[in-house]
């Protein structure tokens, strides 16, 4: 079940990505509507992070292409923000929280220009949004995992983009932080920004996202959550993993979709 939309904010066309000649993503073809909060869901090794990285030109595609806002990434970088996995950097690096968030402004600054007062104000504002303004001067090695995650989120917010890619923003954060982050993301989607999130926890998919990509090397499904997050399609994506499947069918039986309907889909 792959639903395509008119005037997509992101279009991935026949994308195949391989590592050492072994395909990790196979013939991915999808479109996403503007203003959606998208969850990329699938088992370990399904290629969820790779899909984001390939769209952002961080890993080369064997074939196919991605268009953002109908254009190549190189022409629209200022409208695209990225939040990598927390583990991708060295947190003992000599930097303060504010230093890291200011990096979100670098792309807008251009060559040879230093961040100005206005950029600092944006950075402080983004720290306030994630509840970290009191930590601005803190050395990053002194942060807990959840705080590091929030700093990375603030850095992505500081890019003031229209399309956000986030690689497991909820990994290793406590319940309160997770709730705060998803609140922010939903707020952004309401402002017609598009947020694409690699997500691990099936339990919360229905509550969090209004569009879901089910991925397992190939694209199993893409569409509004209530149409995609079904027992049948999940079985197809997670095929063979029995314990998980029972969990999933319990989830579906619990009828969690009811809560979802209220938010409705904003396309």
């Amino acid at each position: 079940m792959i639903k395509h939309v008119e005037n997509p904010v992101l279009e991935v066309h026949d994308l195949t990505v391989s590592y050492a000649r072994k395909p990790v993503l196979w013939d991915i073809d999808l479109t996403l509507p503007q203003g959606s909060l998208v969850g990329i869901v699938g088992p370990n090794g399904a290629g969820k992070s790779t899909l984001i990285k390939s769209i952002l030109d961080l890993v080369p595609a064997s074939s196919g292409y991605s268009k953002l806002f109908g254009d190549d990434l190189a022409n629209v970088r200022r409208r695209v923000a990225y939040m990598p996995q927390r583990e991708s950097v060295d947190w003992d690096f000599p930097a303060s929280v504010l230093d890291v968030v200011l990096m979100g402004r670098y792309g807008k600054l251009g060559l040879f220009k230093r961040p100005r007062k206005a950029d600092r104000e944006v950075a402080h504002e983004c720290l306030r949004k994630v509840g970290m303004e009191a930590f601005a001067k803190r050395q990053i090695s002194q942060l807990s995992g959840g705080q590091q995650q929030r700093v990375f989120l603030a850095r992505a917010l500081a890019q003031e983009a229209d399309l956000y890619f986030m690689d497991e923003p909820f990994a290793g954060v406590d319940a309160a932080t997770e709730k705060a982050i998803i609140g922010l993301l939903q707020e952004m989607a309401e402002q017609n920004k598009t947020v694409v999130v690699v997500h691990h926890d099936l339990q919360s998919v229905v509550q969090y996202f209004n569009w879901v990509l089910l991925l397992n090397m190939r694209l199993v499904a893409s569409g509004p959550t209530e149409q995609v997050f079904t027992n049948e399609l999940l079985q197809e994506a997670y095929g063979g993993k029995l314990t998980l499947l029972t969990e999933v069918s319990e989830l579906v039986q619990k009828g969690q979709f009811a809560a979802r309907e209220k938010q409705g889909y904003r396309g």
């Binding site: 690096f93 000599p94 930097a95 600054l109 807990s144």
Partner: protein, 298 residues
């Protein structure tokens, strides 16, 4: 006056090397300095063959190109060849160095270009090797002009490219997404490392260059958690190392380069034991604050 020239040369070289070394250690490429300092040899020899002189500028360009090529080869072996990073470094620089040795021994035997003059410069000769203009004016030691010029280039690179170098060092893939070319800044940095090492060889020798590249920034890293402060501390440590090394060498009547490298090591050891950030004495305290802040956040 001799002491002044030697200390000034030492400080200039140590500052250039140390500033670049900050980026190397944070990129976990500390051994890259060692590798480049050897791998540039064929570049120097080829530059000599092409120009026929031991002109410093030509040698610097030859060495700079070879240095950048070295980083590309190492990168290629590591990423495409799936060879471990340290193995790629080991294979690349020993092979290139060996090619340089063969070139020298086979073709340049008749001229004054040998391992000694390329690798084991002697800082004690700095005040003797004067730069005299065509008009006969004495402009001071040549090494001062060369290492001063290199320092200006290094300062230009890290002040103009401050945020680019900072971001590509901390989080290269994020830098790529916001449109800062990781490859370009890597090449600029490594080109600067190559030029600096070669320019410094002549005046202070290879061993001291490798020590200056790593020891002062490693010491600064233990003393602060701010990058800007780390850069400034490196400059201070460079001066201390050079001055202390000269004083020590005079006191024991020994090798100046050896004494300077020794002082660099001693300063590092002091920071390692007593440093406020990474030092042994503060580890326990830091651990305690970390736990406290984690608890208060939860």
């Amino acid at each position: 006056m001799e002491a002044f020239w030697i200390i000034l040369t030492g400080t200039l070289v140590a500052t250039s090397c140390g500033l670049l070394g900050n980026y190397l250690i944070l990129r976990r490429m500390a051994m890259m300095g060692d590798a480049i300092s050897h791998a540039v040899l064929p570049g120097i020899v080829l530059a000599f063959f092409l120009t026929g002189t031991r002109d410093t500028i030509a040698m610097l360009i030859g060495a700079g190109l070879l240095g950048v090529l070295t980083t590309f080869i190492i990168d290629f072996l590591h990423k495409r060849g799936k060879l471990q990073a340290d193995a790629s470094i080991g294979v690349t620089f020993t092979s290139l160095f060996a090619i340089g040795i063969i070139l020298i021994s086979a073709f340049a035997g008749q001229v004054d270009l040998d391992q000694d003059c390329v690798l084991y410069g002697e800082i004690a000769y700095v005040p003797i090797d004067l730069w005299i203009s065509n008009g006969g004016t004495i402009l001071g030691p040549r090494a001062i002009w060369i290492s001063g010029g290199v320092l200006i280039l290094v300062l230009l690179l890290i002040s103009l490219g401050y945020k680019e170098l900072y971001l590509t060092t901390f989080d290269p893939s994020y830098a790529g997404v916001v449109g800062i070319s990781v490859g370009l800044w890597q090449a600029l940095l490594m080109g600067a490392v190559s030029m600096t090492t070669v320019a410094s060889f002549e005046s202070v020798g290879a061993i001291l260059v490798v020590a200056f590249l790593i020891a002062p920034p490693a010491t600064a890293y233990l003393l602060t958690t701010r990058f800007r402060t780390m850069l400034w501390l490196t400059v201070g440590i460079a001066f201390l190392t050079s001055t202390g090394g000269y004083v020590l060498a005079v006191a024991i009547d020994g090798s100046i380069a050896g004494a300077m490298a020794t002082i660099a090591g001693i300063l590092f050891a002091i920071a390692f034991v007593f440093g406020p950030e990474g030092g042994l004495m503060s580890r326990r305290k830091k651990q305690a604050t970390l736990e406290e802040s984690t608890v208060s956040a939860a």
